[in-house]
Amino acid sequence: MRSSNLEHQPIVSIRGITKVFPGGLTANDDISLDIYPGEIHALLGENGAGKTTLMNILSGIYRADEGVFFLYGKPVQIKSPKDAIQHGIGMVHQHFRLIPPHSVAENIALGLGTSFLSPLKMVLKTIREFSLQYNLSIHPMARICDLSVGEQQRVEIVKALIRGANILILDEPTAVLTPQEAQELFFILGKMKSEGKAIIFITHKLEEVLEIADFITVLRKGRVVDSFPVSRIKETKEDAKKELASMMVGKEVILKVDKETVTPGDTVLNVENLHVHNDRGVETVRGVSFSVRKGEIFAILGVAGNGQRELVEAIVGLRGHTGGILKGNGRAGYIPENRLTMGTAPNMNLAENMILTCYRDYSKTLFLDLTRILEKTRKGIADFRVVAPDVKVLARQLSGGNVQRLILARELSQNPGLLIAEQPTHGLDVRSTEDVWRALLDQRKSAGILLVSGDLEEVLSLSDRIGVIFQGKIVNVLESSSAKHRIEEIGLMMTGGVRNTQVSS
């Protein structure tokens, strides 16, 4: 199958793409690869490997600093999403670009240049055709906000197809899907592939890659590690996974942190049968119980969107709860997931940001004690290795890793009894991740830490106990020592494979 394709001309050739973000992060470093028609091309890599950036460049959202694209062998310029659409490149983003109060048909018709007086006529007809062809069931007049995530994704796919996409890019499409929905998606992609369309599938899930990909490109730290047909890979599934994983992570396992033994002390946070609603009034935390003691890291592990956000917001007091008991003990520090907008005031300088949560300690009278504030900021910057030219630069001018270091410096310097860290290393480079981990482990000696994360490696490296959350409930609480041997089982728990084994902690 593959050999016949080798004679094919690639539909897209990516040559020497380099992208450096204003913060100095090189997201793509001289990337070259070929995409063939009639193939599913998996773009595999860890968070922050540069997969999404590369595809955002191909679909016209970002501009590359260097490099060119060839479509059917001819060089093309892609300056805007519109250009990309005209070249038959469609992208389904992780966050859907849909307008919630509008109908499916209206969303698809937007910008399509359909007839003025009856803009939906052609759209309705095409939706019907696609529905038959790809076995999609979408009600064209339903409002987007009433659809499930899987259905919304199908609307995005139709949006791309109706615009004549021959190259469909999907950014981590299964991250938000149930296993059932994922299978439906794979079926649709298979159909499209058989029609000669090229599909680029961004993922970090090895299982999926082996299931559907024809060709695999592995990215690490913005570079192509290897690009090869799936036939080249090891025979057994386990070996194949190991091979891919080592390509993704690299030979050297950099992230090895030493964990001292600390005897747990008093309970600093107690949550009993907690119920919380989200903004839409849906109960997303449905009876959660756990406790965090001083000297331990308790991890809430789960796929994003299973109630973690609402749980954390309830604990830190940003959101009310509708039932249950929440009892904290002592000063709490909070490291929010959205570090720039929630963790800092982006348009204020570092010194001002440094005292956001403790400014009262720095004003005896009406005025702030600037000398002490600057002193504290300089010390924090030095202790936590924040790379910044001056304490007067604005928080938004820092890179993600440095923002996180600043927040850690601020929160940890206040010696909280309880620290709540929400996805603390999401999107950070290895060095920053290591720093954050070390800081958390350090703090564990004097505080209880609630770590909310979807990153299994992080959770296994840091935590003492792990509560796996799925659909607003803690499925199971595991001791970290035993968890290391039950990774597959944990994966199942995170995705709803194992249920109703709530263990009180």
């Binding site: 959202i61 970002y62 805007s80 999403p81 519109k82 659409i85 670009r97 849909l98 307008i99 919630p100 109060p101 509008h102 209206e106 018709a109 937007l110 910008g111 399509l112 240049g113 359909t114 007839s115 003025f116 007086l117 009856s118 803009p119 903004d279 839409r280 009034g281």
Partner: protein, 310 residues
């Protein structure tokens, strides 16, 4: 029997009193549906009122007065469009500036024209056959001026345009999520400019209605807060032209009643009714996020749009 004719008369007059509100509200609906809050309605209306009166007075042609009133409203709205779309300033500030500008400028220009009666007028209709329909006939088809019908016609057209055509999808999408519209090749700035100008044309027309039909003369500050009522009505109508039709006529009847009920009720009490509602409107808007969405409030209302990284 007596109260029946009384109700019919109130409703009949409500159409005439409500029409300038209707014109202004439909314009503001378009502006806000595209995501631009224009608090300059009062300013655009008073400019339309003065220029409309002036043109009609000088040329003796009330139609020309309406045209010029609308055009000056549209021109004034371009100031707001430029400030809020191109320069992305805070829309509340820019709108308020436009209101103050309109009130101030007409105060100066209109000094010599105060109290001069306009002798020309537009035709008033008694529509045969239709006027004999029970209840509806004497309300809608007796002694109404042509702009009452133009207002109703425009409401239907603008409703259809907004909810049934490709332009409508584009306008509403720009007001909900400009980034998504932009990604699909929509020129967000152009759509917003056009909608703001539609708002200006209609507000200017509403102003001309005041000085040519409603009270055929010029008085400084004669809009007396109608522009603000328009802002409130935009919310009450749930950003829907047909809702604007109903809301404007309810407010129109309140205006009329404040005259009619004078012997029994202190007129001030009734006069404040529309303004009272105007105060309540933002309250309604802030009740609940979910409620707000359901009512049709555009998600990107008041938020300047710029592309990522620009």
């Amino acid at each position: 029997m007596q109260w029946e004719t009384w109700v019919i008369e109130t409703l009949r007059r409500a159409l005439a009193y409500g029409s300038p509100l209707l014109l202004g509200t439909m314009g503001e609906i378009y502006s806000e549906r595209s995501g631009i809050l224009n608090l300059g309605v009062e300013g655009m209306m008073i400019l339309g009122a003065f220029v409309g009166f002036f043109t009609a007075f000088v040329t003796g042609n009330p139609w020309l007065g309406f045209l010029m009133g609308a055009l000056v409203g549209g021109a004034a709205s371009l100031i707001h469009a430029f400030l809020s779309v191109t320069l992305r300033v805070i829309q509340v500030v820019s709108g308020l500036a436009l209101t103050l500008f309109g009130l101030g400028l007409t105060g100066v220009l209109g000094r010599g024209w105060e109290g001069k009666p306009l002798r020309v007028s537009l035709p008033v209709f008694y529509i045969p056959y239709l006027k004999d329909i029970p209840i509806l006939g004497p309300i809608v088809f007796v002694e109404q001026n042509v702009f009452v019908y133009i207002g109703i016609g425009l409401a239907l057209i603008l409703w259809y345009l907004l909810f049934k055509t490709s332009w409508g999808i584009t306008i509403r999408s720009v007001g909900e999520d400009p980034a998504t519209a932009d990604a699909l090749g929509i020129n967000v700035s152009l759509v917003r400019y056009l909608c703001v100008v539609i708002g200006g044309l209609l507000a200017g027309m509403g102003g001309a209605y005041l000085s040519i039909i409603y009270r055929p003369s010029w008085t400084q500050g004669m809009t007396s807060g109608m522009g603000w009522i328009v802002i409130a009505l935009t919310i009450f109508s749930f950003w829907h032209p047909i809702g604007a039709l109903g809301g404007s006529y309810i407010f129109g009847s309140l205006f009329y009643l404040s005259f009619r009920l004078q012997p029994w009720v202190a007129p001030e009490l009734l006069t404040i009714m529309p303004y009272l509602f105007t105060i309540l409107a933002p309250l309604l808007l802030n009740l609940h996020k979910k409620m707000r969405r359901r009512m049709g409030a555009p998600a990107a209302l008041g938020i300047p749009y710029s592309r990522e990284g620009e």
